[in-house]
């Protein structure tokens, strides 16, 4: 392994139905030479594999997966390739395309000029495949429009739904007929059920197609697994159905063999058991697809076509054939095909699907547009900057897909249980059999006893039949499908919810860690604050604040200092005329001096004013007050007379105060980390209500500060920008990279917040907590079900109430159990984090009215 370069690929896997299937596929893949690790996500139906391409091919992986009874539904593209002259062309294409990373299979049909490629979109795009063939000198177009973009995974799921539906349509009516025939002699049923239906040979004739038709899959799959030394749910079903059917056949054809005789033909058990298991599989296949609806919605956003301007001509091309630098045209109502920068025109664009921002965003020349978003009002042109797999949407889809393919630490428990469960259940079934055979039957058996919810009397049974029946029921009732589905189905829905709100969790572990956070550290500059200084207050001795600001702006007009720029910007925003100064000089460490209309203007600190003997009087007290608040106070003097003070500070973002307050409400401690001096930091912290201030921290020491908090036993999140704060984000239990915009792939951090809005930090925690709550509910239900059901199946009630669970009731309960878990995950659809549900808390509104979190000047 160490010699080659390890690659990562995400493969779709169809046909898995439980945690044991996951284990089976993982083992099959990890058994391959060259595979470093394999992790399978049941709900996403995907396998993430780290492998050495030199030692192992995608075809090997497909073969291994098929070997244990599952399928790989590859992405498929069908191309019409013109110019192929013979078999050497065929070989060229097969060799060139087949050598591409991510291509599993290439088929060239010279008769129809068609090239069909099976590939995985996690490694290569359709456009890259087309380009390779085009580079060989052939003309390439899509065989049938849209076909290439067919969702293979959905197709596979639909196939599975269809397959199980057909099975159900065979099993259900036959099973019901078998049940009607079996119970014909009870109650008034004989009055309308024909007598021939109760004939044991007719029952055999009806049950056999159910067991050998829809039930065949369980025998084949369990045999395939056993051959490779792995067990799965199919084995439980196969032994259960097989045993019931086997006894029924013996009792039909050799009634005196001692298996319970004619009264113990369990055809209805075998038939209904199969029916309920198939029903469970069908319902699971139908519902499980819905938990991944969010990612599907994102995929659907990917535009198919684009209109580009090439050589002055407007061309309609496939969206993934747009090249960087192409000028694209977008009309109102159309989707923006790729990422780019507006070059001409003006419009409003609905970006809600990417950023969660509900209001359309105005776009004009120079603004960025995101592929997949929808142009609302005007027409515009833009230059493509990112295309194909590089677009924000493609990156987001990949990120969410990867997140969905990972496992949360909490899942280790269910995986471990599921892994050992099947064997454990068989051991238990053996124990139950031996117990009832050697002791229980003699002690408690009552010939008049019944199955729960059934009029069936057990009188026909003898020791072997009774013990076997309970043993089989244990096998059927114990299926840990629900345990296997509990975590991934909720995590999948949760990652989708996040993506819909512009919050991208990089993995299930990030989701779980976010839910457990205790402390959130915000980087100050650029995260809590806007990151650029602005004028927050102007104090004037004679009440003419505008004049003080104007004088300061004239002095700073030619300055390139950020404080000076802030003053000039503030003056311009107030509509003040700021003429050029005749003379200008910067006095390092003191301030600036300028001459305007013959008068000398001074702008600077106390030392400058003292040097020039300008009396400050009451302005000194004002300056001290401003400095207490962490602002930089600059004195303004003109013609040797002090005129006022201009205060400049980095201002808080609008959402900072509310975000901190909401985090407090969630029970979290909020800290701030900054390189600023303690007084400035404390002033900012006071304004937003931050609990802990980590001031005077050099950028390179931020990670160490995070570690210190972790050493105190706290689970810490760091919120900052993904580039400057990368080490601290990586050190934290959860790094939240904020305001990444569209370049999500470059971000460090475990959670990416697309928008520059601190409320998304709260939203991320709310979504993570909601998701983990669902996971815990699911696990509690799944484990609770098995804990309660196994003793019931083993006959714990029998000594007291003389009733046992029938195998078919066991199958029904098992199907309900996994269905309830999936439905619980589905109920997460439509959840909106409370922070995004609108309405501002009264306390926040009051604080804002008091000026907390707002530039002071704006409120005066």
């Amino acid at each position: 392994m160490s010699e080659g370069k390890v690659k990562e690929v995400t493969l779709p896997v169809a046909g898995m139905s439980c945690a044991a299937c996951v284990n089976k596929v993982e083992k099959a893949l990890e058994g391959l030479k060259g595979v470093a690790s394999a992790r399978v996500n049941l709900a996403a139906a995907k396998a993430g594999v780290e492998y050495d391409p030199a030692a192992c091919s995608l075809a090997d992986m497909e073969q291994a997966i098929a070997g244990v009874g599952y399928e790989v539904p590859w992405d498929r593209i069908e191309l019409l390739v013109l110019g192929m002259m013979g078999t050497h062309c065929q070989q060229n294409i097969e060799r060139a395309v087949g050598a591409l990373d991510g291509v599993a299979r290439v088929q060239v049909n010279l008769g129809t000029d068609t090239v069909t490629v099976d590939y995985t979109a996690s490694l290569i795009s359709a456009a890259q495949i087309r380009k390779v063939i085009r580079d060989l000198g052939y003309q390439v177009s899509d065989k049938a429009e849209g076909e290439a973009s067919l969702d293979r995974e959905r197709q596979a799921r639909q196939q599975e739904i269809r397959r199980q539906l057909v099975n159900l349509l065979i099993a259900a009516p036959l099973g019901l007929l078998v049940m009607a025939g079996t119970f014909r002699d009870y109650w008034v049923l004989h009055t309308f059920i024909p007598s021939f239906l109760g004939n044991k040979y007719v029952l055999w004739g009806l049950a056999t197609p159910v067991v050998l038709g829809p039930g065949r899959q369980f025998f084949v799959n369990s045999f395939n697994g056993l051959r490779r030394g792995v067990t799965d749910m199919n084995l439980l079903y196969a032994t259960g159905i097989g045993a019931a059917y086997f006894i029924a056949v013996i009792n039909t054809f050799w009634p005196n063999a001692g298996f319970g005789g004619e009264k113990a033909t369990f055809y209805e058990s075998a038939a209904l058991l199969t029916t309920f298991i198939v029903l469970g599989r069908y319902l699971e296949a139908v519902t499980r697809g819905r938990t991944s609806e969010a990612i599907r919605k994102l995929m659907k956003l990917q535009p198919k076509r684009a209109r580009v301007l090439r050589d002055g001509e407007e061309l309609d091309v496939l969206a993934d054939e747009v090249q960087v630098g192409d000028i694209c045209l977008v009309r109102p109502g159309e989707s923006i095909p790729v990422d780019g920068v507006v070059s001409e025109g003006y419009s409003a664009v609905d970006e809600s699907m990417i950023s969660g921002e509900s209001l359309p965003v105005e776009k004009r020349a120079g603004d960025e547009v995101i592929g997949g978003t929808i142009n609302k009002t005007g027409a515009f042109r833009f230059r493509a900057t990112r295309v194909g797999k590089e677009t924000a949407l493609a990156q987001i889809i990949k990120l969410v897909e990867n997140a969905q393919a990972t496992k949360a630490p909490i899942q280790r428990l269910s995986d471990t249980v599921a892994r050992h469960f099947i064997l454990g259940v068989h051991m238990l079934a053996l124990g139950v059999f031996l117990f009832w055979f050697f002791g229980g039957f003699n002690w408690w058996f009552d010939p008049n006893s019944h199955f729960i919810l059934s009029p069936w009397e057990l009188s026909g049974l003898q020791v072997f039949g009774f013990s076997l029946l309970l043993s089989v029921t244990v096998l059927v009732i114990s299926c840990p499908c629900a345990v296997g589905l509990a975590t991934p189905s909720a995590i999948m829905a949760g990652s989708g919810l996040g993506a819909q709100n512009g919050i991208l969790f990089k993995g299930a572990d990030a989701m779980e860690a976010t839910a457990k956070l205790q402390t959130v550290i915000f980087d100050k500059t650029g995260t809590l604050t806007r990151g650029e200084p602005s004028v927050t207050e102007v104090v004037s001795l004679d009440g003419r604040q505008d004049e003080v600001l104007r004088l300061a702006a004239i002095a700073e007009k030619n300055s390139e200092h950020p404080l000076g720029e802030a003053i000039v910007r503030a003056a311009q925003e107030r509509g003040l005329a700021v003429p050029d100064a005749e003379e200008f000089a910067a006095i390092p460490g003191h301030g600036v001096e300028a001459r305007h209309n013959g008068s000398l203007i001074l702008l600077g600190n106390r030392r400058l004013m003292a040097q020039r003997q300008v009396a400050l009087g009451p302005l000194l007290t004002e300056a001290e007050r401003l400095e207490q608040d962490g602002k930089t106070a600059m004195f303004v003097a003109a013609g040797d007379q002090a005129r006022g003070v201009v205060a400049v500070a980095d201002t808080l973002k609008d959402s900072s105060a509310r975000a901190v307050q909401e985090l407090h409400r969630l029970g979290l401690e909020v800290a701030m980390i900054t390189g600023d001096n303690r007084r400035t930091a404390q002033a900012i912290a006071r304004q937003v209500g931050i609990d802990r201030v980590l001031a005077e921290v050099l950028p390179e020491d931020k990670a160490a500060e995070v570690r210190k908090l972790q050493e105190q036993g706290r689970r810490v999140a760091m919120v900052g920008d993904g580039i400057n704060d990368a080490p601290a984000l990586a050190q934290a239990d959860v790094g939240l990279a904020i305001g990444s915009g569209t370049d999500v792939a470059k971000e460090t951090g475990h959670v990416i917040l697309v928008k520059d809005d601190l409320l998304d930090v709260v939203g991320a925690i709310q979504i993570a907590r909601f998701t983990m709550r669902k996971v815990r509910q699911n696990l509690a239900w799944a484990f609770g079900y098995n804990t309660a059901a196994i003793p019931l199946g083993a006959g714990i009630l029998y000594p007291f109430f003389a009733q046992v669970v029938s195998p078919e009731l066991a199958a029904f309960l098992m199907a309900i159990s996994s269905l309830s878990v999936t439905l619980n995950a589905m109920s997460m659809r439509g959840f909106r984090p409370p922070i995004r549900r609108g309405g501002r808390p009264a306390e926040v509104a009051r604080q804002e009215a008091r000026g907390i979190g707002q530039p002071v000047e704006e409120l005066r």
């Binding site: 056993l226 045993a243 068989h426 050697f438 003898q462 013990s467």
Partner: protein, 72 residues
């Protein structure tokens, strides 16, 4: 070749142990209680089947690991 040998050895082990288990069951039913032959043979068959199912996935990787480890 090693793979084949491991498969062969493990098949030998789990079949033998399962057979021993079912023979033990037969012996127990003979020594204890009044069971008819159908119950005895049927029970022994069920015990054999369950033991095979339990042992196949446990013995196979164990043998493969041991044989692989020794050669490697």
């Amino acid at each position: 070749m090693d793979q084949q040998r491991a498969t062969y050895v493990s098949a030998l082990v789990y079949t033998a142990v399962s057979l021993l288990g079912s023979v033990a069951f037969l012996a127990a039913t003979t020594l204890r209680g009044d069971y008819n032959w159908v119950a005895r043979l049927g029970g022994a068959g069920w015990v054999f089947l369950l033991l095979m199912i339990i042992l196949m996935p446990t013995v196979t990787p164990w043998v493969k690991k041991r044989l692989g480890g020794r050669q490697g």
